[in-house]
């Protein structure tokens, strides 16, 4: 029997991933390189924050303790957040932003494809909704990876630097936590290790086409899914949760 607690934690992980990355993207508002890209990044942010709401609502429902989506987003501290580390890294430059988007999004879409058939019906339903949106985001980031990777010497260098920095954070996608192992064994969620190969192949081909080279070093970062974060998450939460912490219960 799977404890609700494990499903709850997993749904929180999905919610936190979307919220934190959505927040990072929202930092581009008013700073995009052109008006069109400014609009694009904020649209991506809106979708992700919207998706996180769906998952927080679902998590609150599973927990059944009267906490709301807002309580979960605004009143948990760093160690309670379950997002992948890659989502919380500072926004960096435009190359870093579109490449992170691609790496995360290509993993997430692959994962959601497999989550569609989960025996936990609601997980499959939400995956279907998010998948449609993420596939469109994916096209956006691939366009830019090609354009910058194959663009000028400077744009290519920026993309390569971003890849060197980001690649070690992708290993975390494929390392299930102990709690996830239980859900995998119960066939509630796909085994992230199984989708590694497909992800790797499609990723490598997109990057190669943009003349980018995947770094060979085998060092990696992990821990986000278990609440061990980089120092960056604290700053995001300080900004994001400030109002709710200062004026508890304040509503729009």
């Amino acid at each position: 029997m799977i404890a609700n607690q494990q499903v709850f934690q997993f749904v929180l992980h999905l919610a936190d991933d979307s919220l934190i990355l959505g927040h990072r993207l929202s930092e581009w508002c008013g700073h995009g390189p052109t008006i069109e890209q400014d609009i694009a990044l904020t649209n991506l942010a809106l979708d992700l924050v919207g998706q996180s709401r769906l998952y927080y609502q679902y998590a609150a429902e599973i927990e059944g303790k009267g906490r709301t989506e807002d309580d979960l987003a605004y009143l948990r501290d760093v160690i309670e957040f379950r997002n992948h580390l890659i989502t919380e890294l500072p926004r960096g430059d435009f190359a870093f932003t579109v490449l992170r988007q691609y790496l995360w999004c290509s993993f997430r879409t692959e994962f959601y494809q497999h989550l569609l058939t989960s025996s936990e019906i609601k997980l499959g339903e939400l995956a279907a909704k998010c998948l449609k949106e993420l596939q469109y985001h994916q096209r956006f980031s691939i366009t830019w990876i090609n354009r910058l990777g194959l663009g000028t010497k400077v744009s290519h260098e920026k993309m390569q630097t971003a890849l060197d920095e980001l690649w070690p954070y992708t290993f975390e996608f494929f390392q299930p936590t102990a709690a996830e192992e239980k859900l995998i064994n119960a066939s509630l969620i796909p085994d992230c290790r199984d989708i590694r190969k497909t992800w790797d192949q499609s990723c490598q081909s997109v990057l190669r086409e943009a003349s980018l080279v995947v770094p060979q070093e085998h060092w990696d970062f992990q821990g986000g899914k278990e609440g061990m974060h980089t120092e960056h998450l604290g700053y995001i939460l300080a900004e994001m949760q400030f109002l709710q912490r200062t004026y508890p219960g304040l509503v729009w």
Partner: protein, 151 residues
């Protein structure tokens, strides 16, 4: 025979999308079900994009319109499944979009310019003023236009 659900649908035909005020929630295809349960009316709405700010607003507009028409017990809920898609926009909805200057979604190929009908168009941006639109320019009449993305 006109059912209670039909009458509700007629009212909803006059509830416009807040961001594209020429198309009703019915023609936008976001009304999943209208149920009459023990005298109460329940309307199930399929939100468009997760990031659409109107997601919470539209149910309020629907409830308000129904109450104004005398329905007392009204419940409007968002359902995330089935997932809304642009194939749910009615043919009347597509006509209204075009008339308003927004190219309706087209499966495969590029949209036709809503001003002159030409297909020689280029994309300016994959995203637009609302989550559901992208931006194009017509190379024939040189007018920029919005395109309701296929979703």
């Amino acid at each position: 025979m006109v059912t209670r659900e039909d009458r509700v649908r007629q009212i909803l035909l006059r509830v416009m999308d807040p961001e594209i005020p020429v198309i009703s929630v019915v023609d936008l295809g976001i009304i999943h079900k209208i149920k009459s349960v023990d005298g109460a009316i329940e309307v199930q709405v399929m939100p468009t994009y997760s990031g659409c700010p109107a997601t919470d607003y539209i149910p309020q507009l629907i409830a308000k319109a129904l109450r104004k028409e005398g329905y007392v017990e009204v419940k409007v809920i968002n359902v995330n499944f089935p997932v809304w898609g642009t194939d749910r926009i009615t043919s009347e909805g597509r006509r209204l979009l075009k008339e308003y200057g927004i190219a309706p979604p087209k499966v495969g190929g590029t949209p036709d310019c809503p001003q002159c009908g030409a297909n020689d168009v280029e994309q300016i941006s994959q995203f637009g003023s609302t989550p559901c639109k992208s931006l194009f320019r017509c190379r024939e009449c040189l007018e920029p236009f919005e395109y309701f993305k296929c979703h």
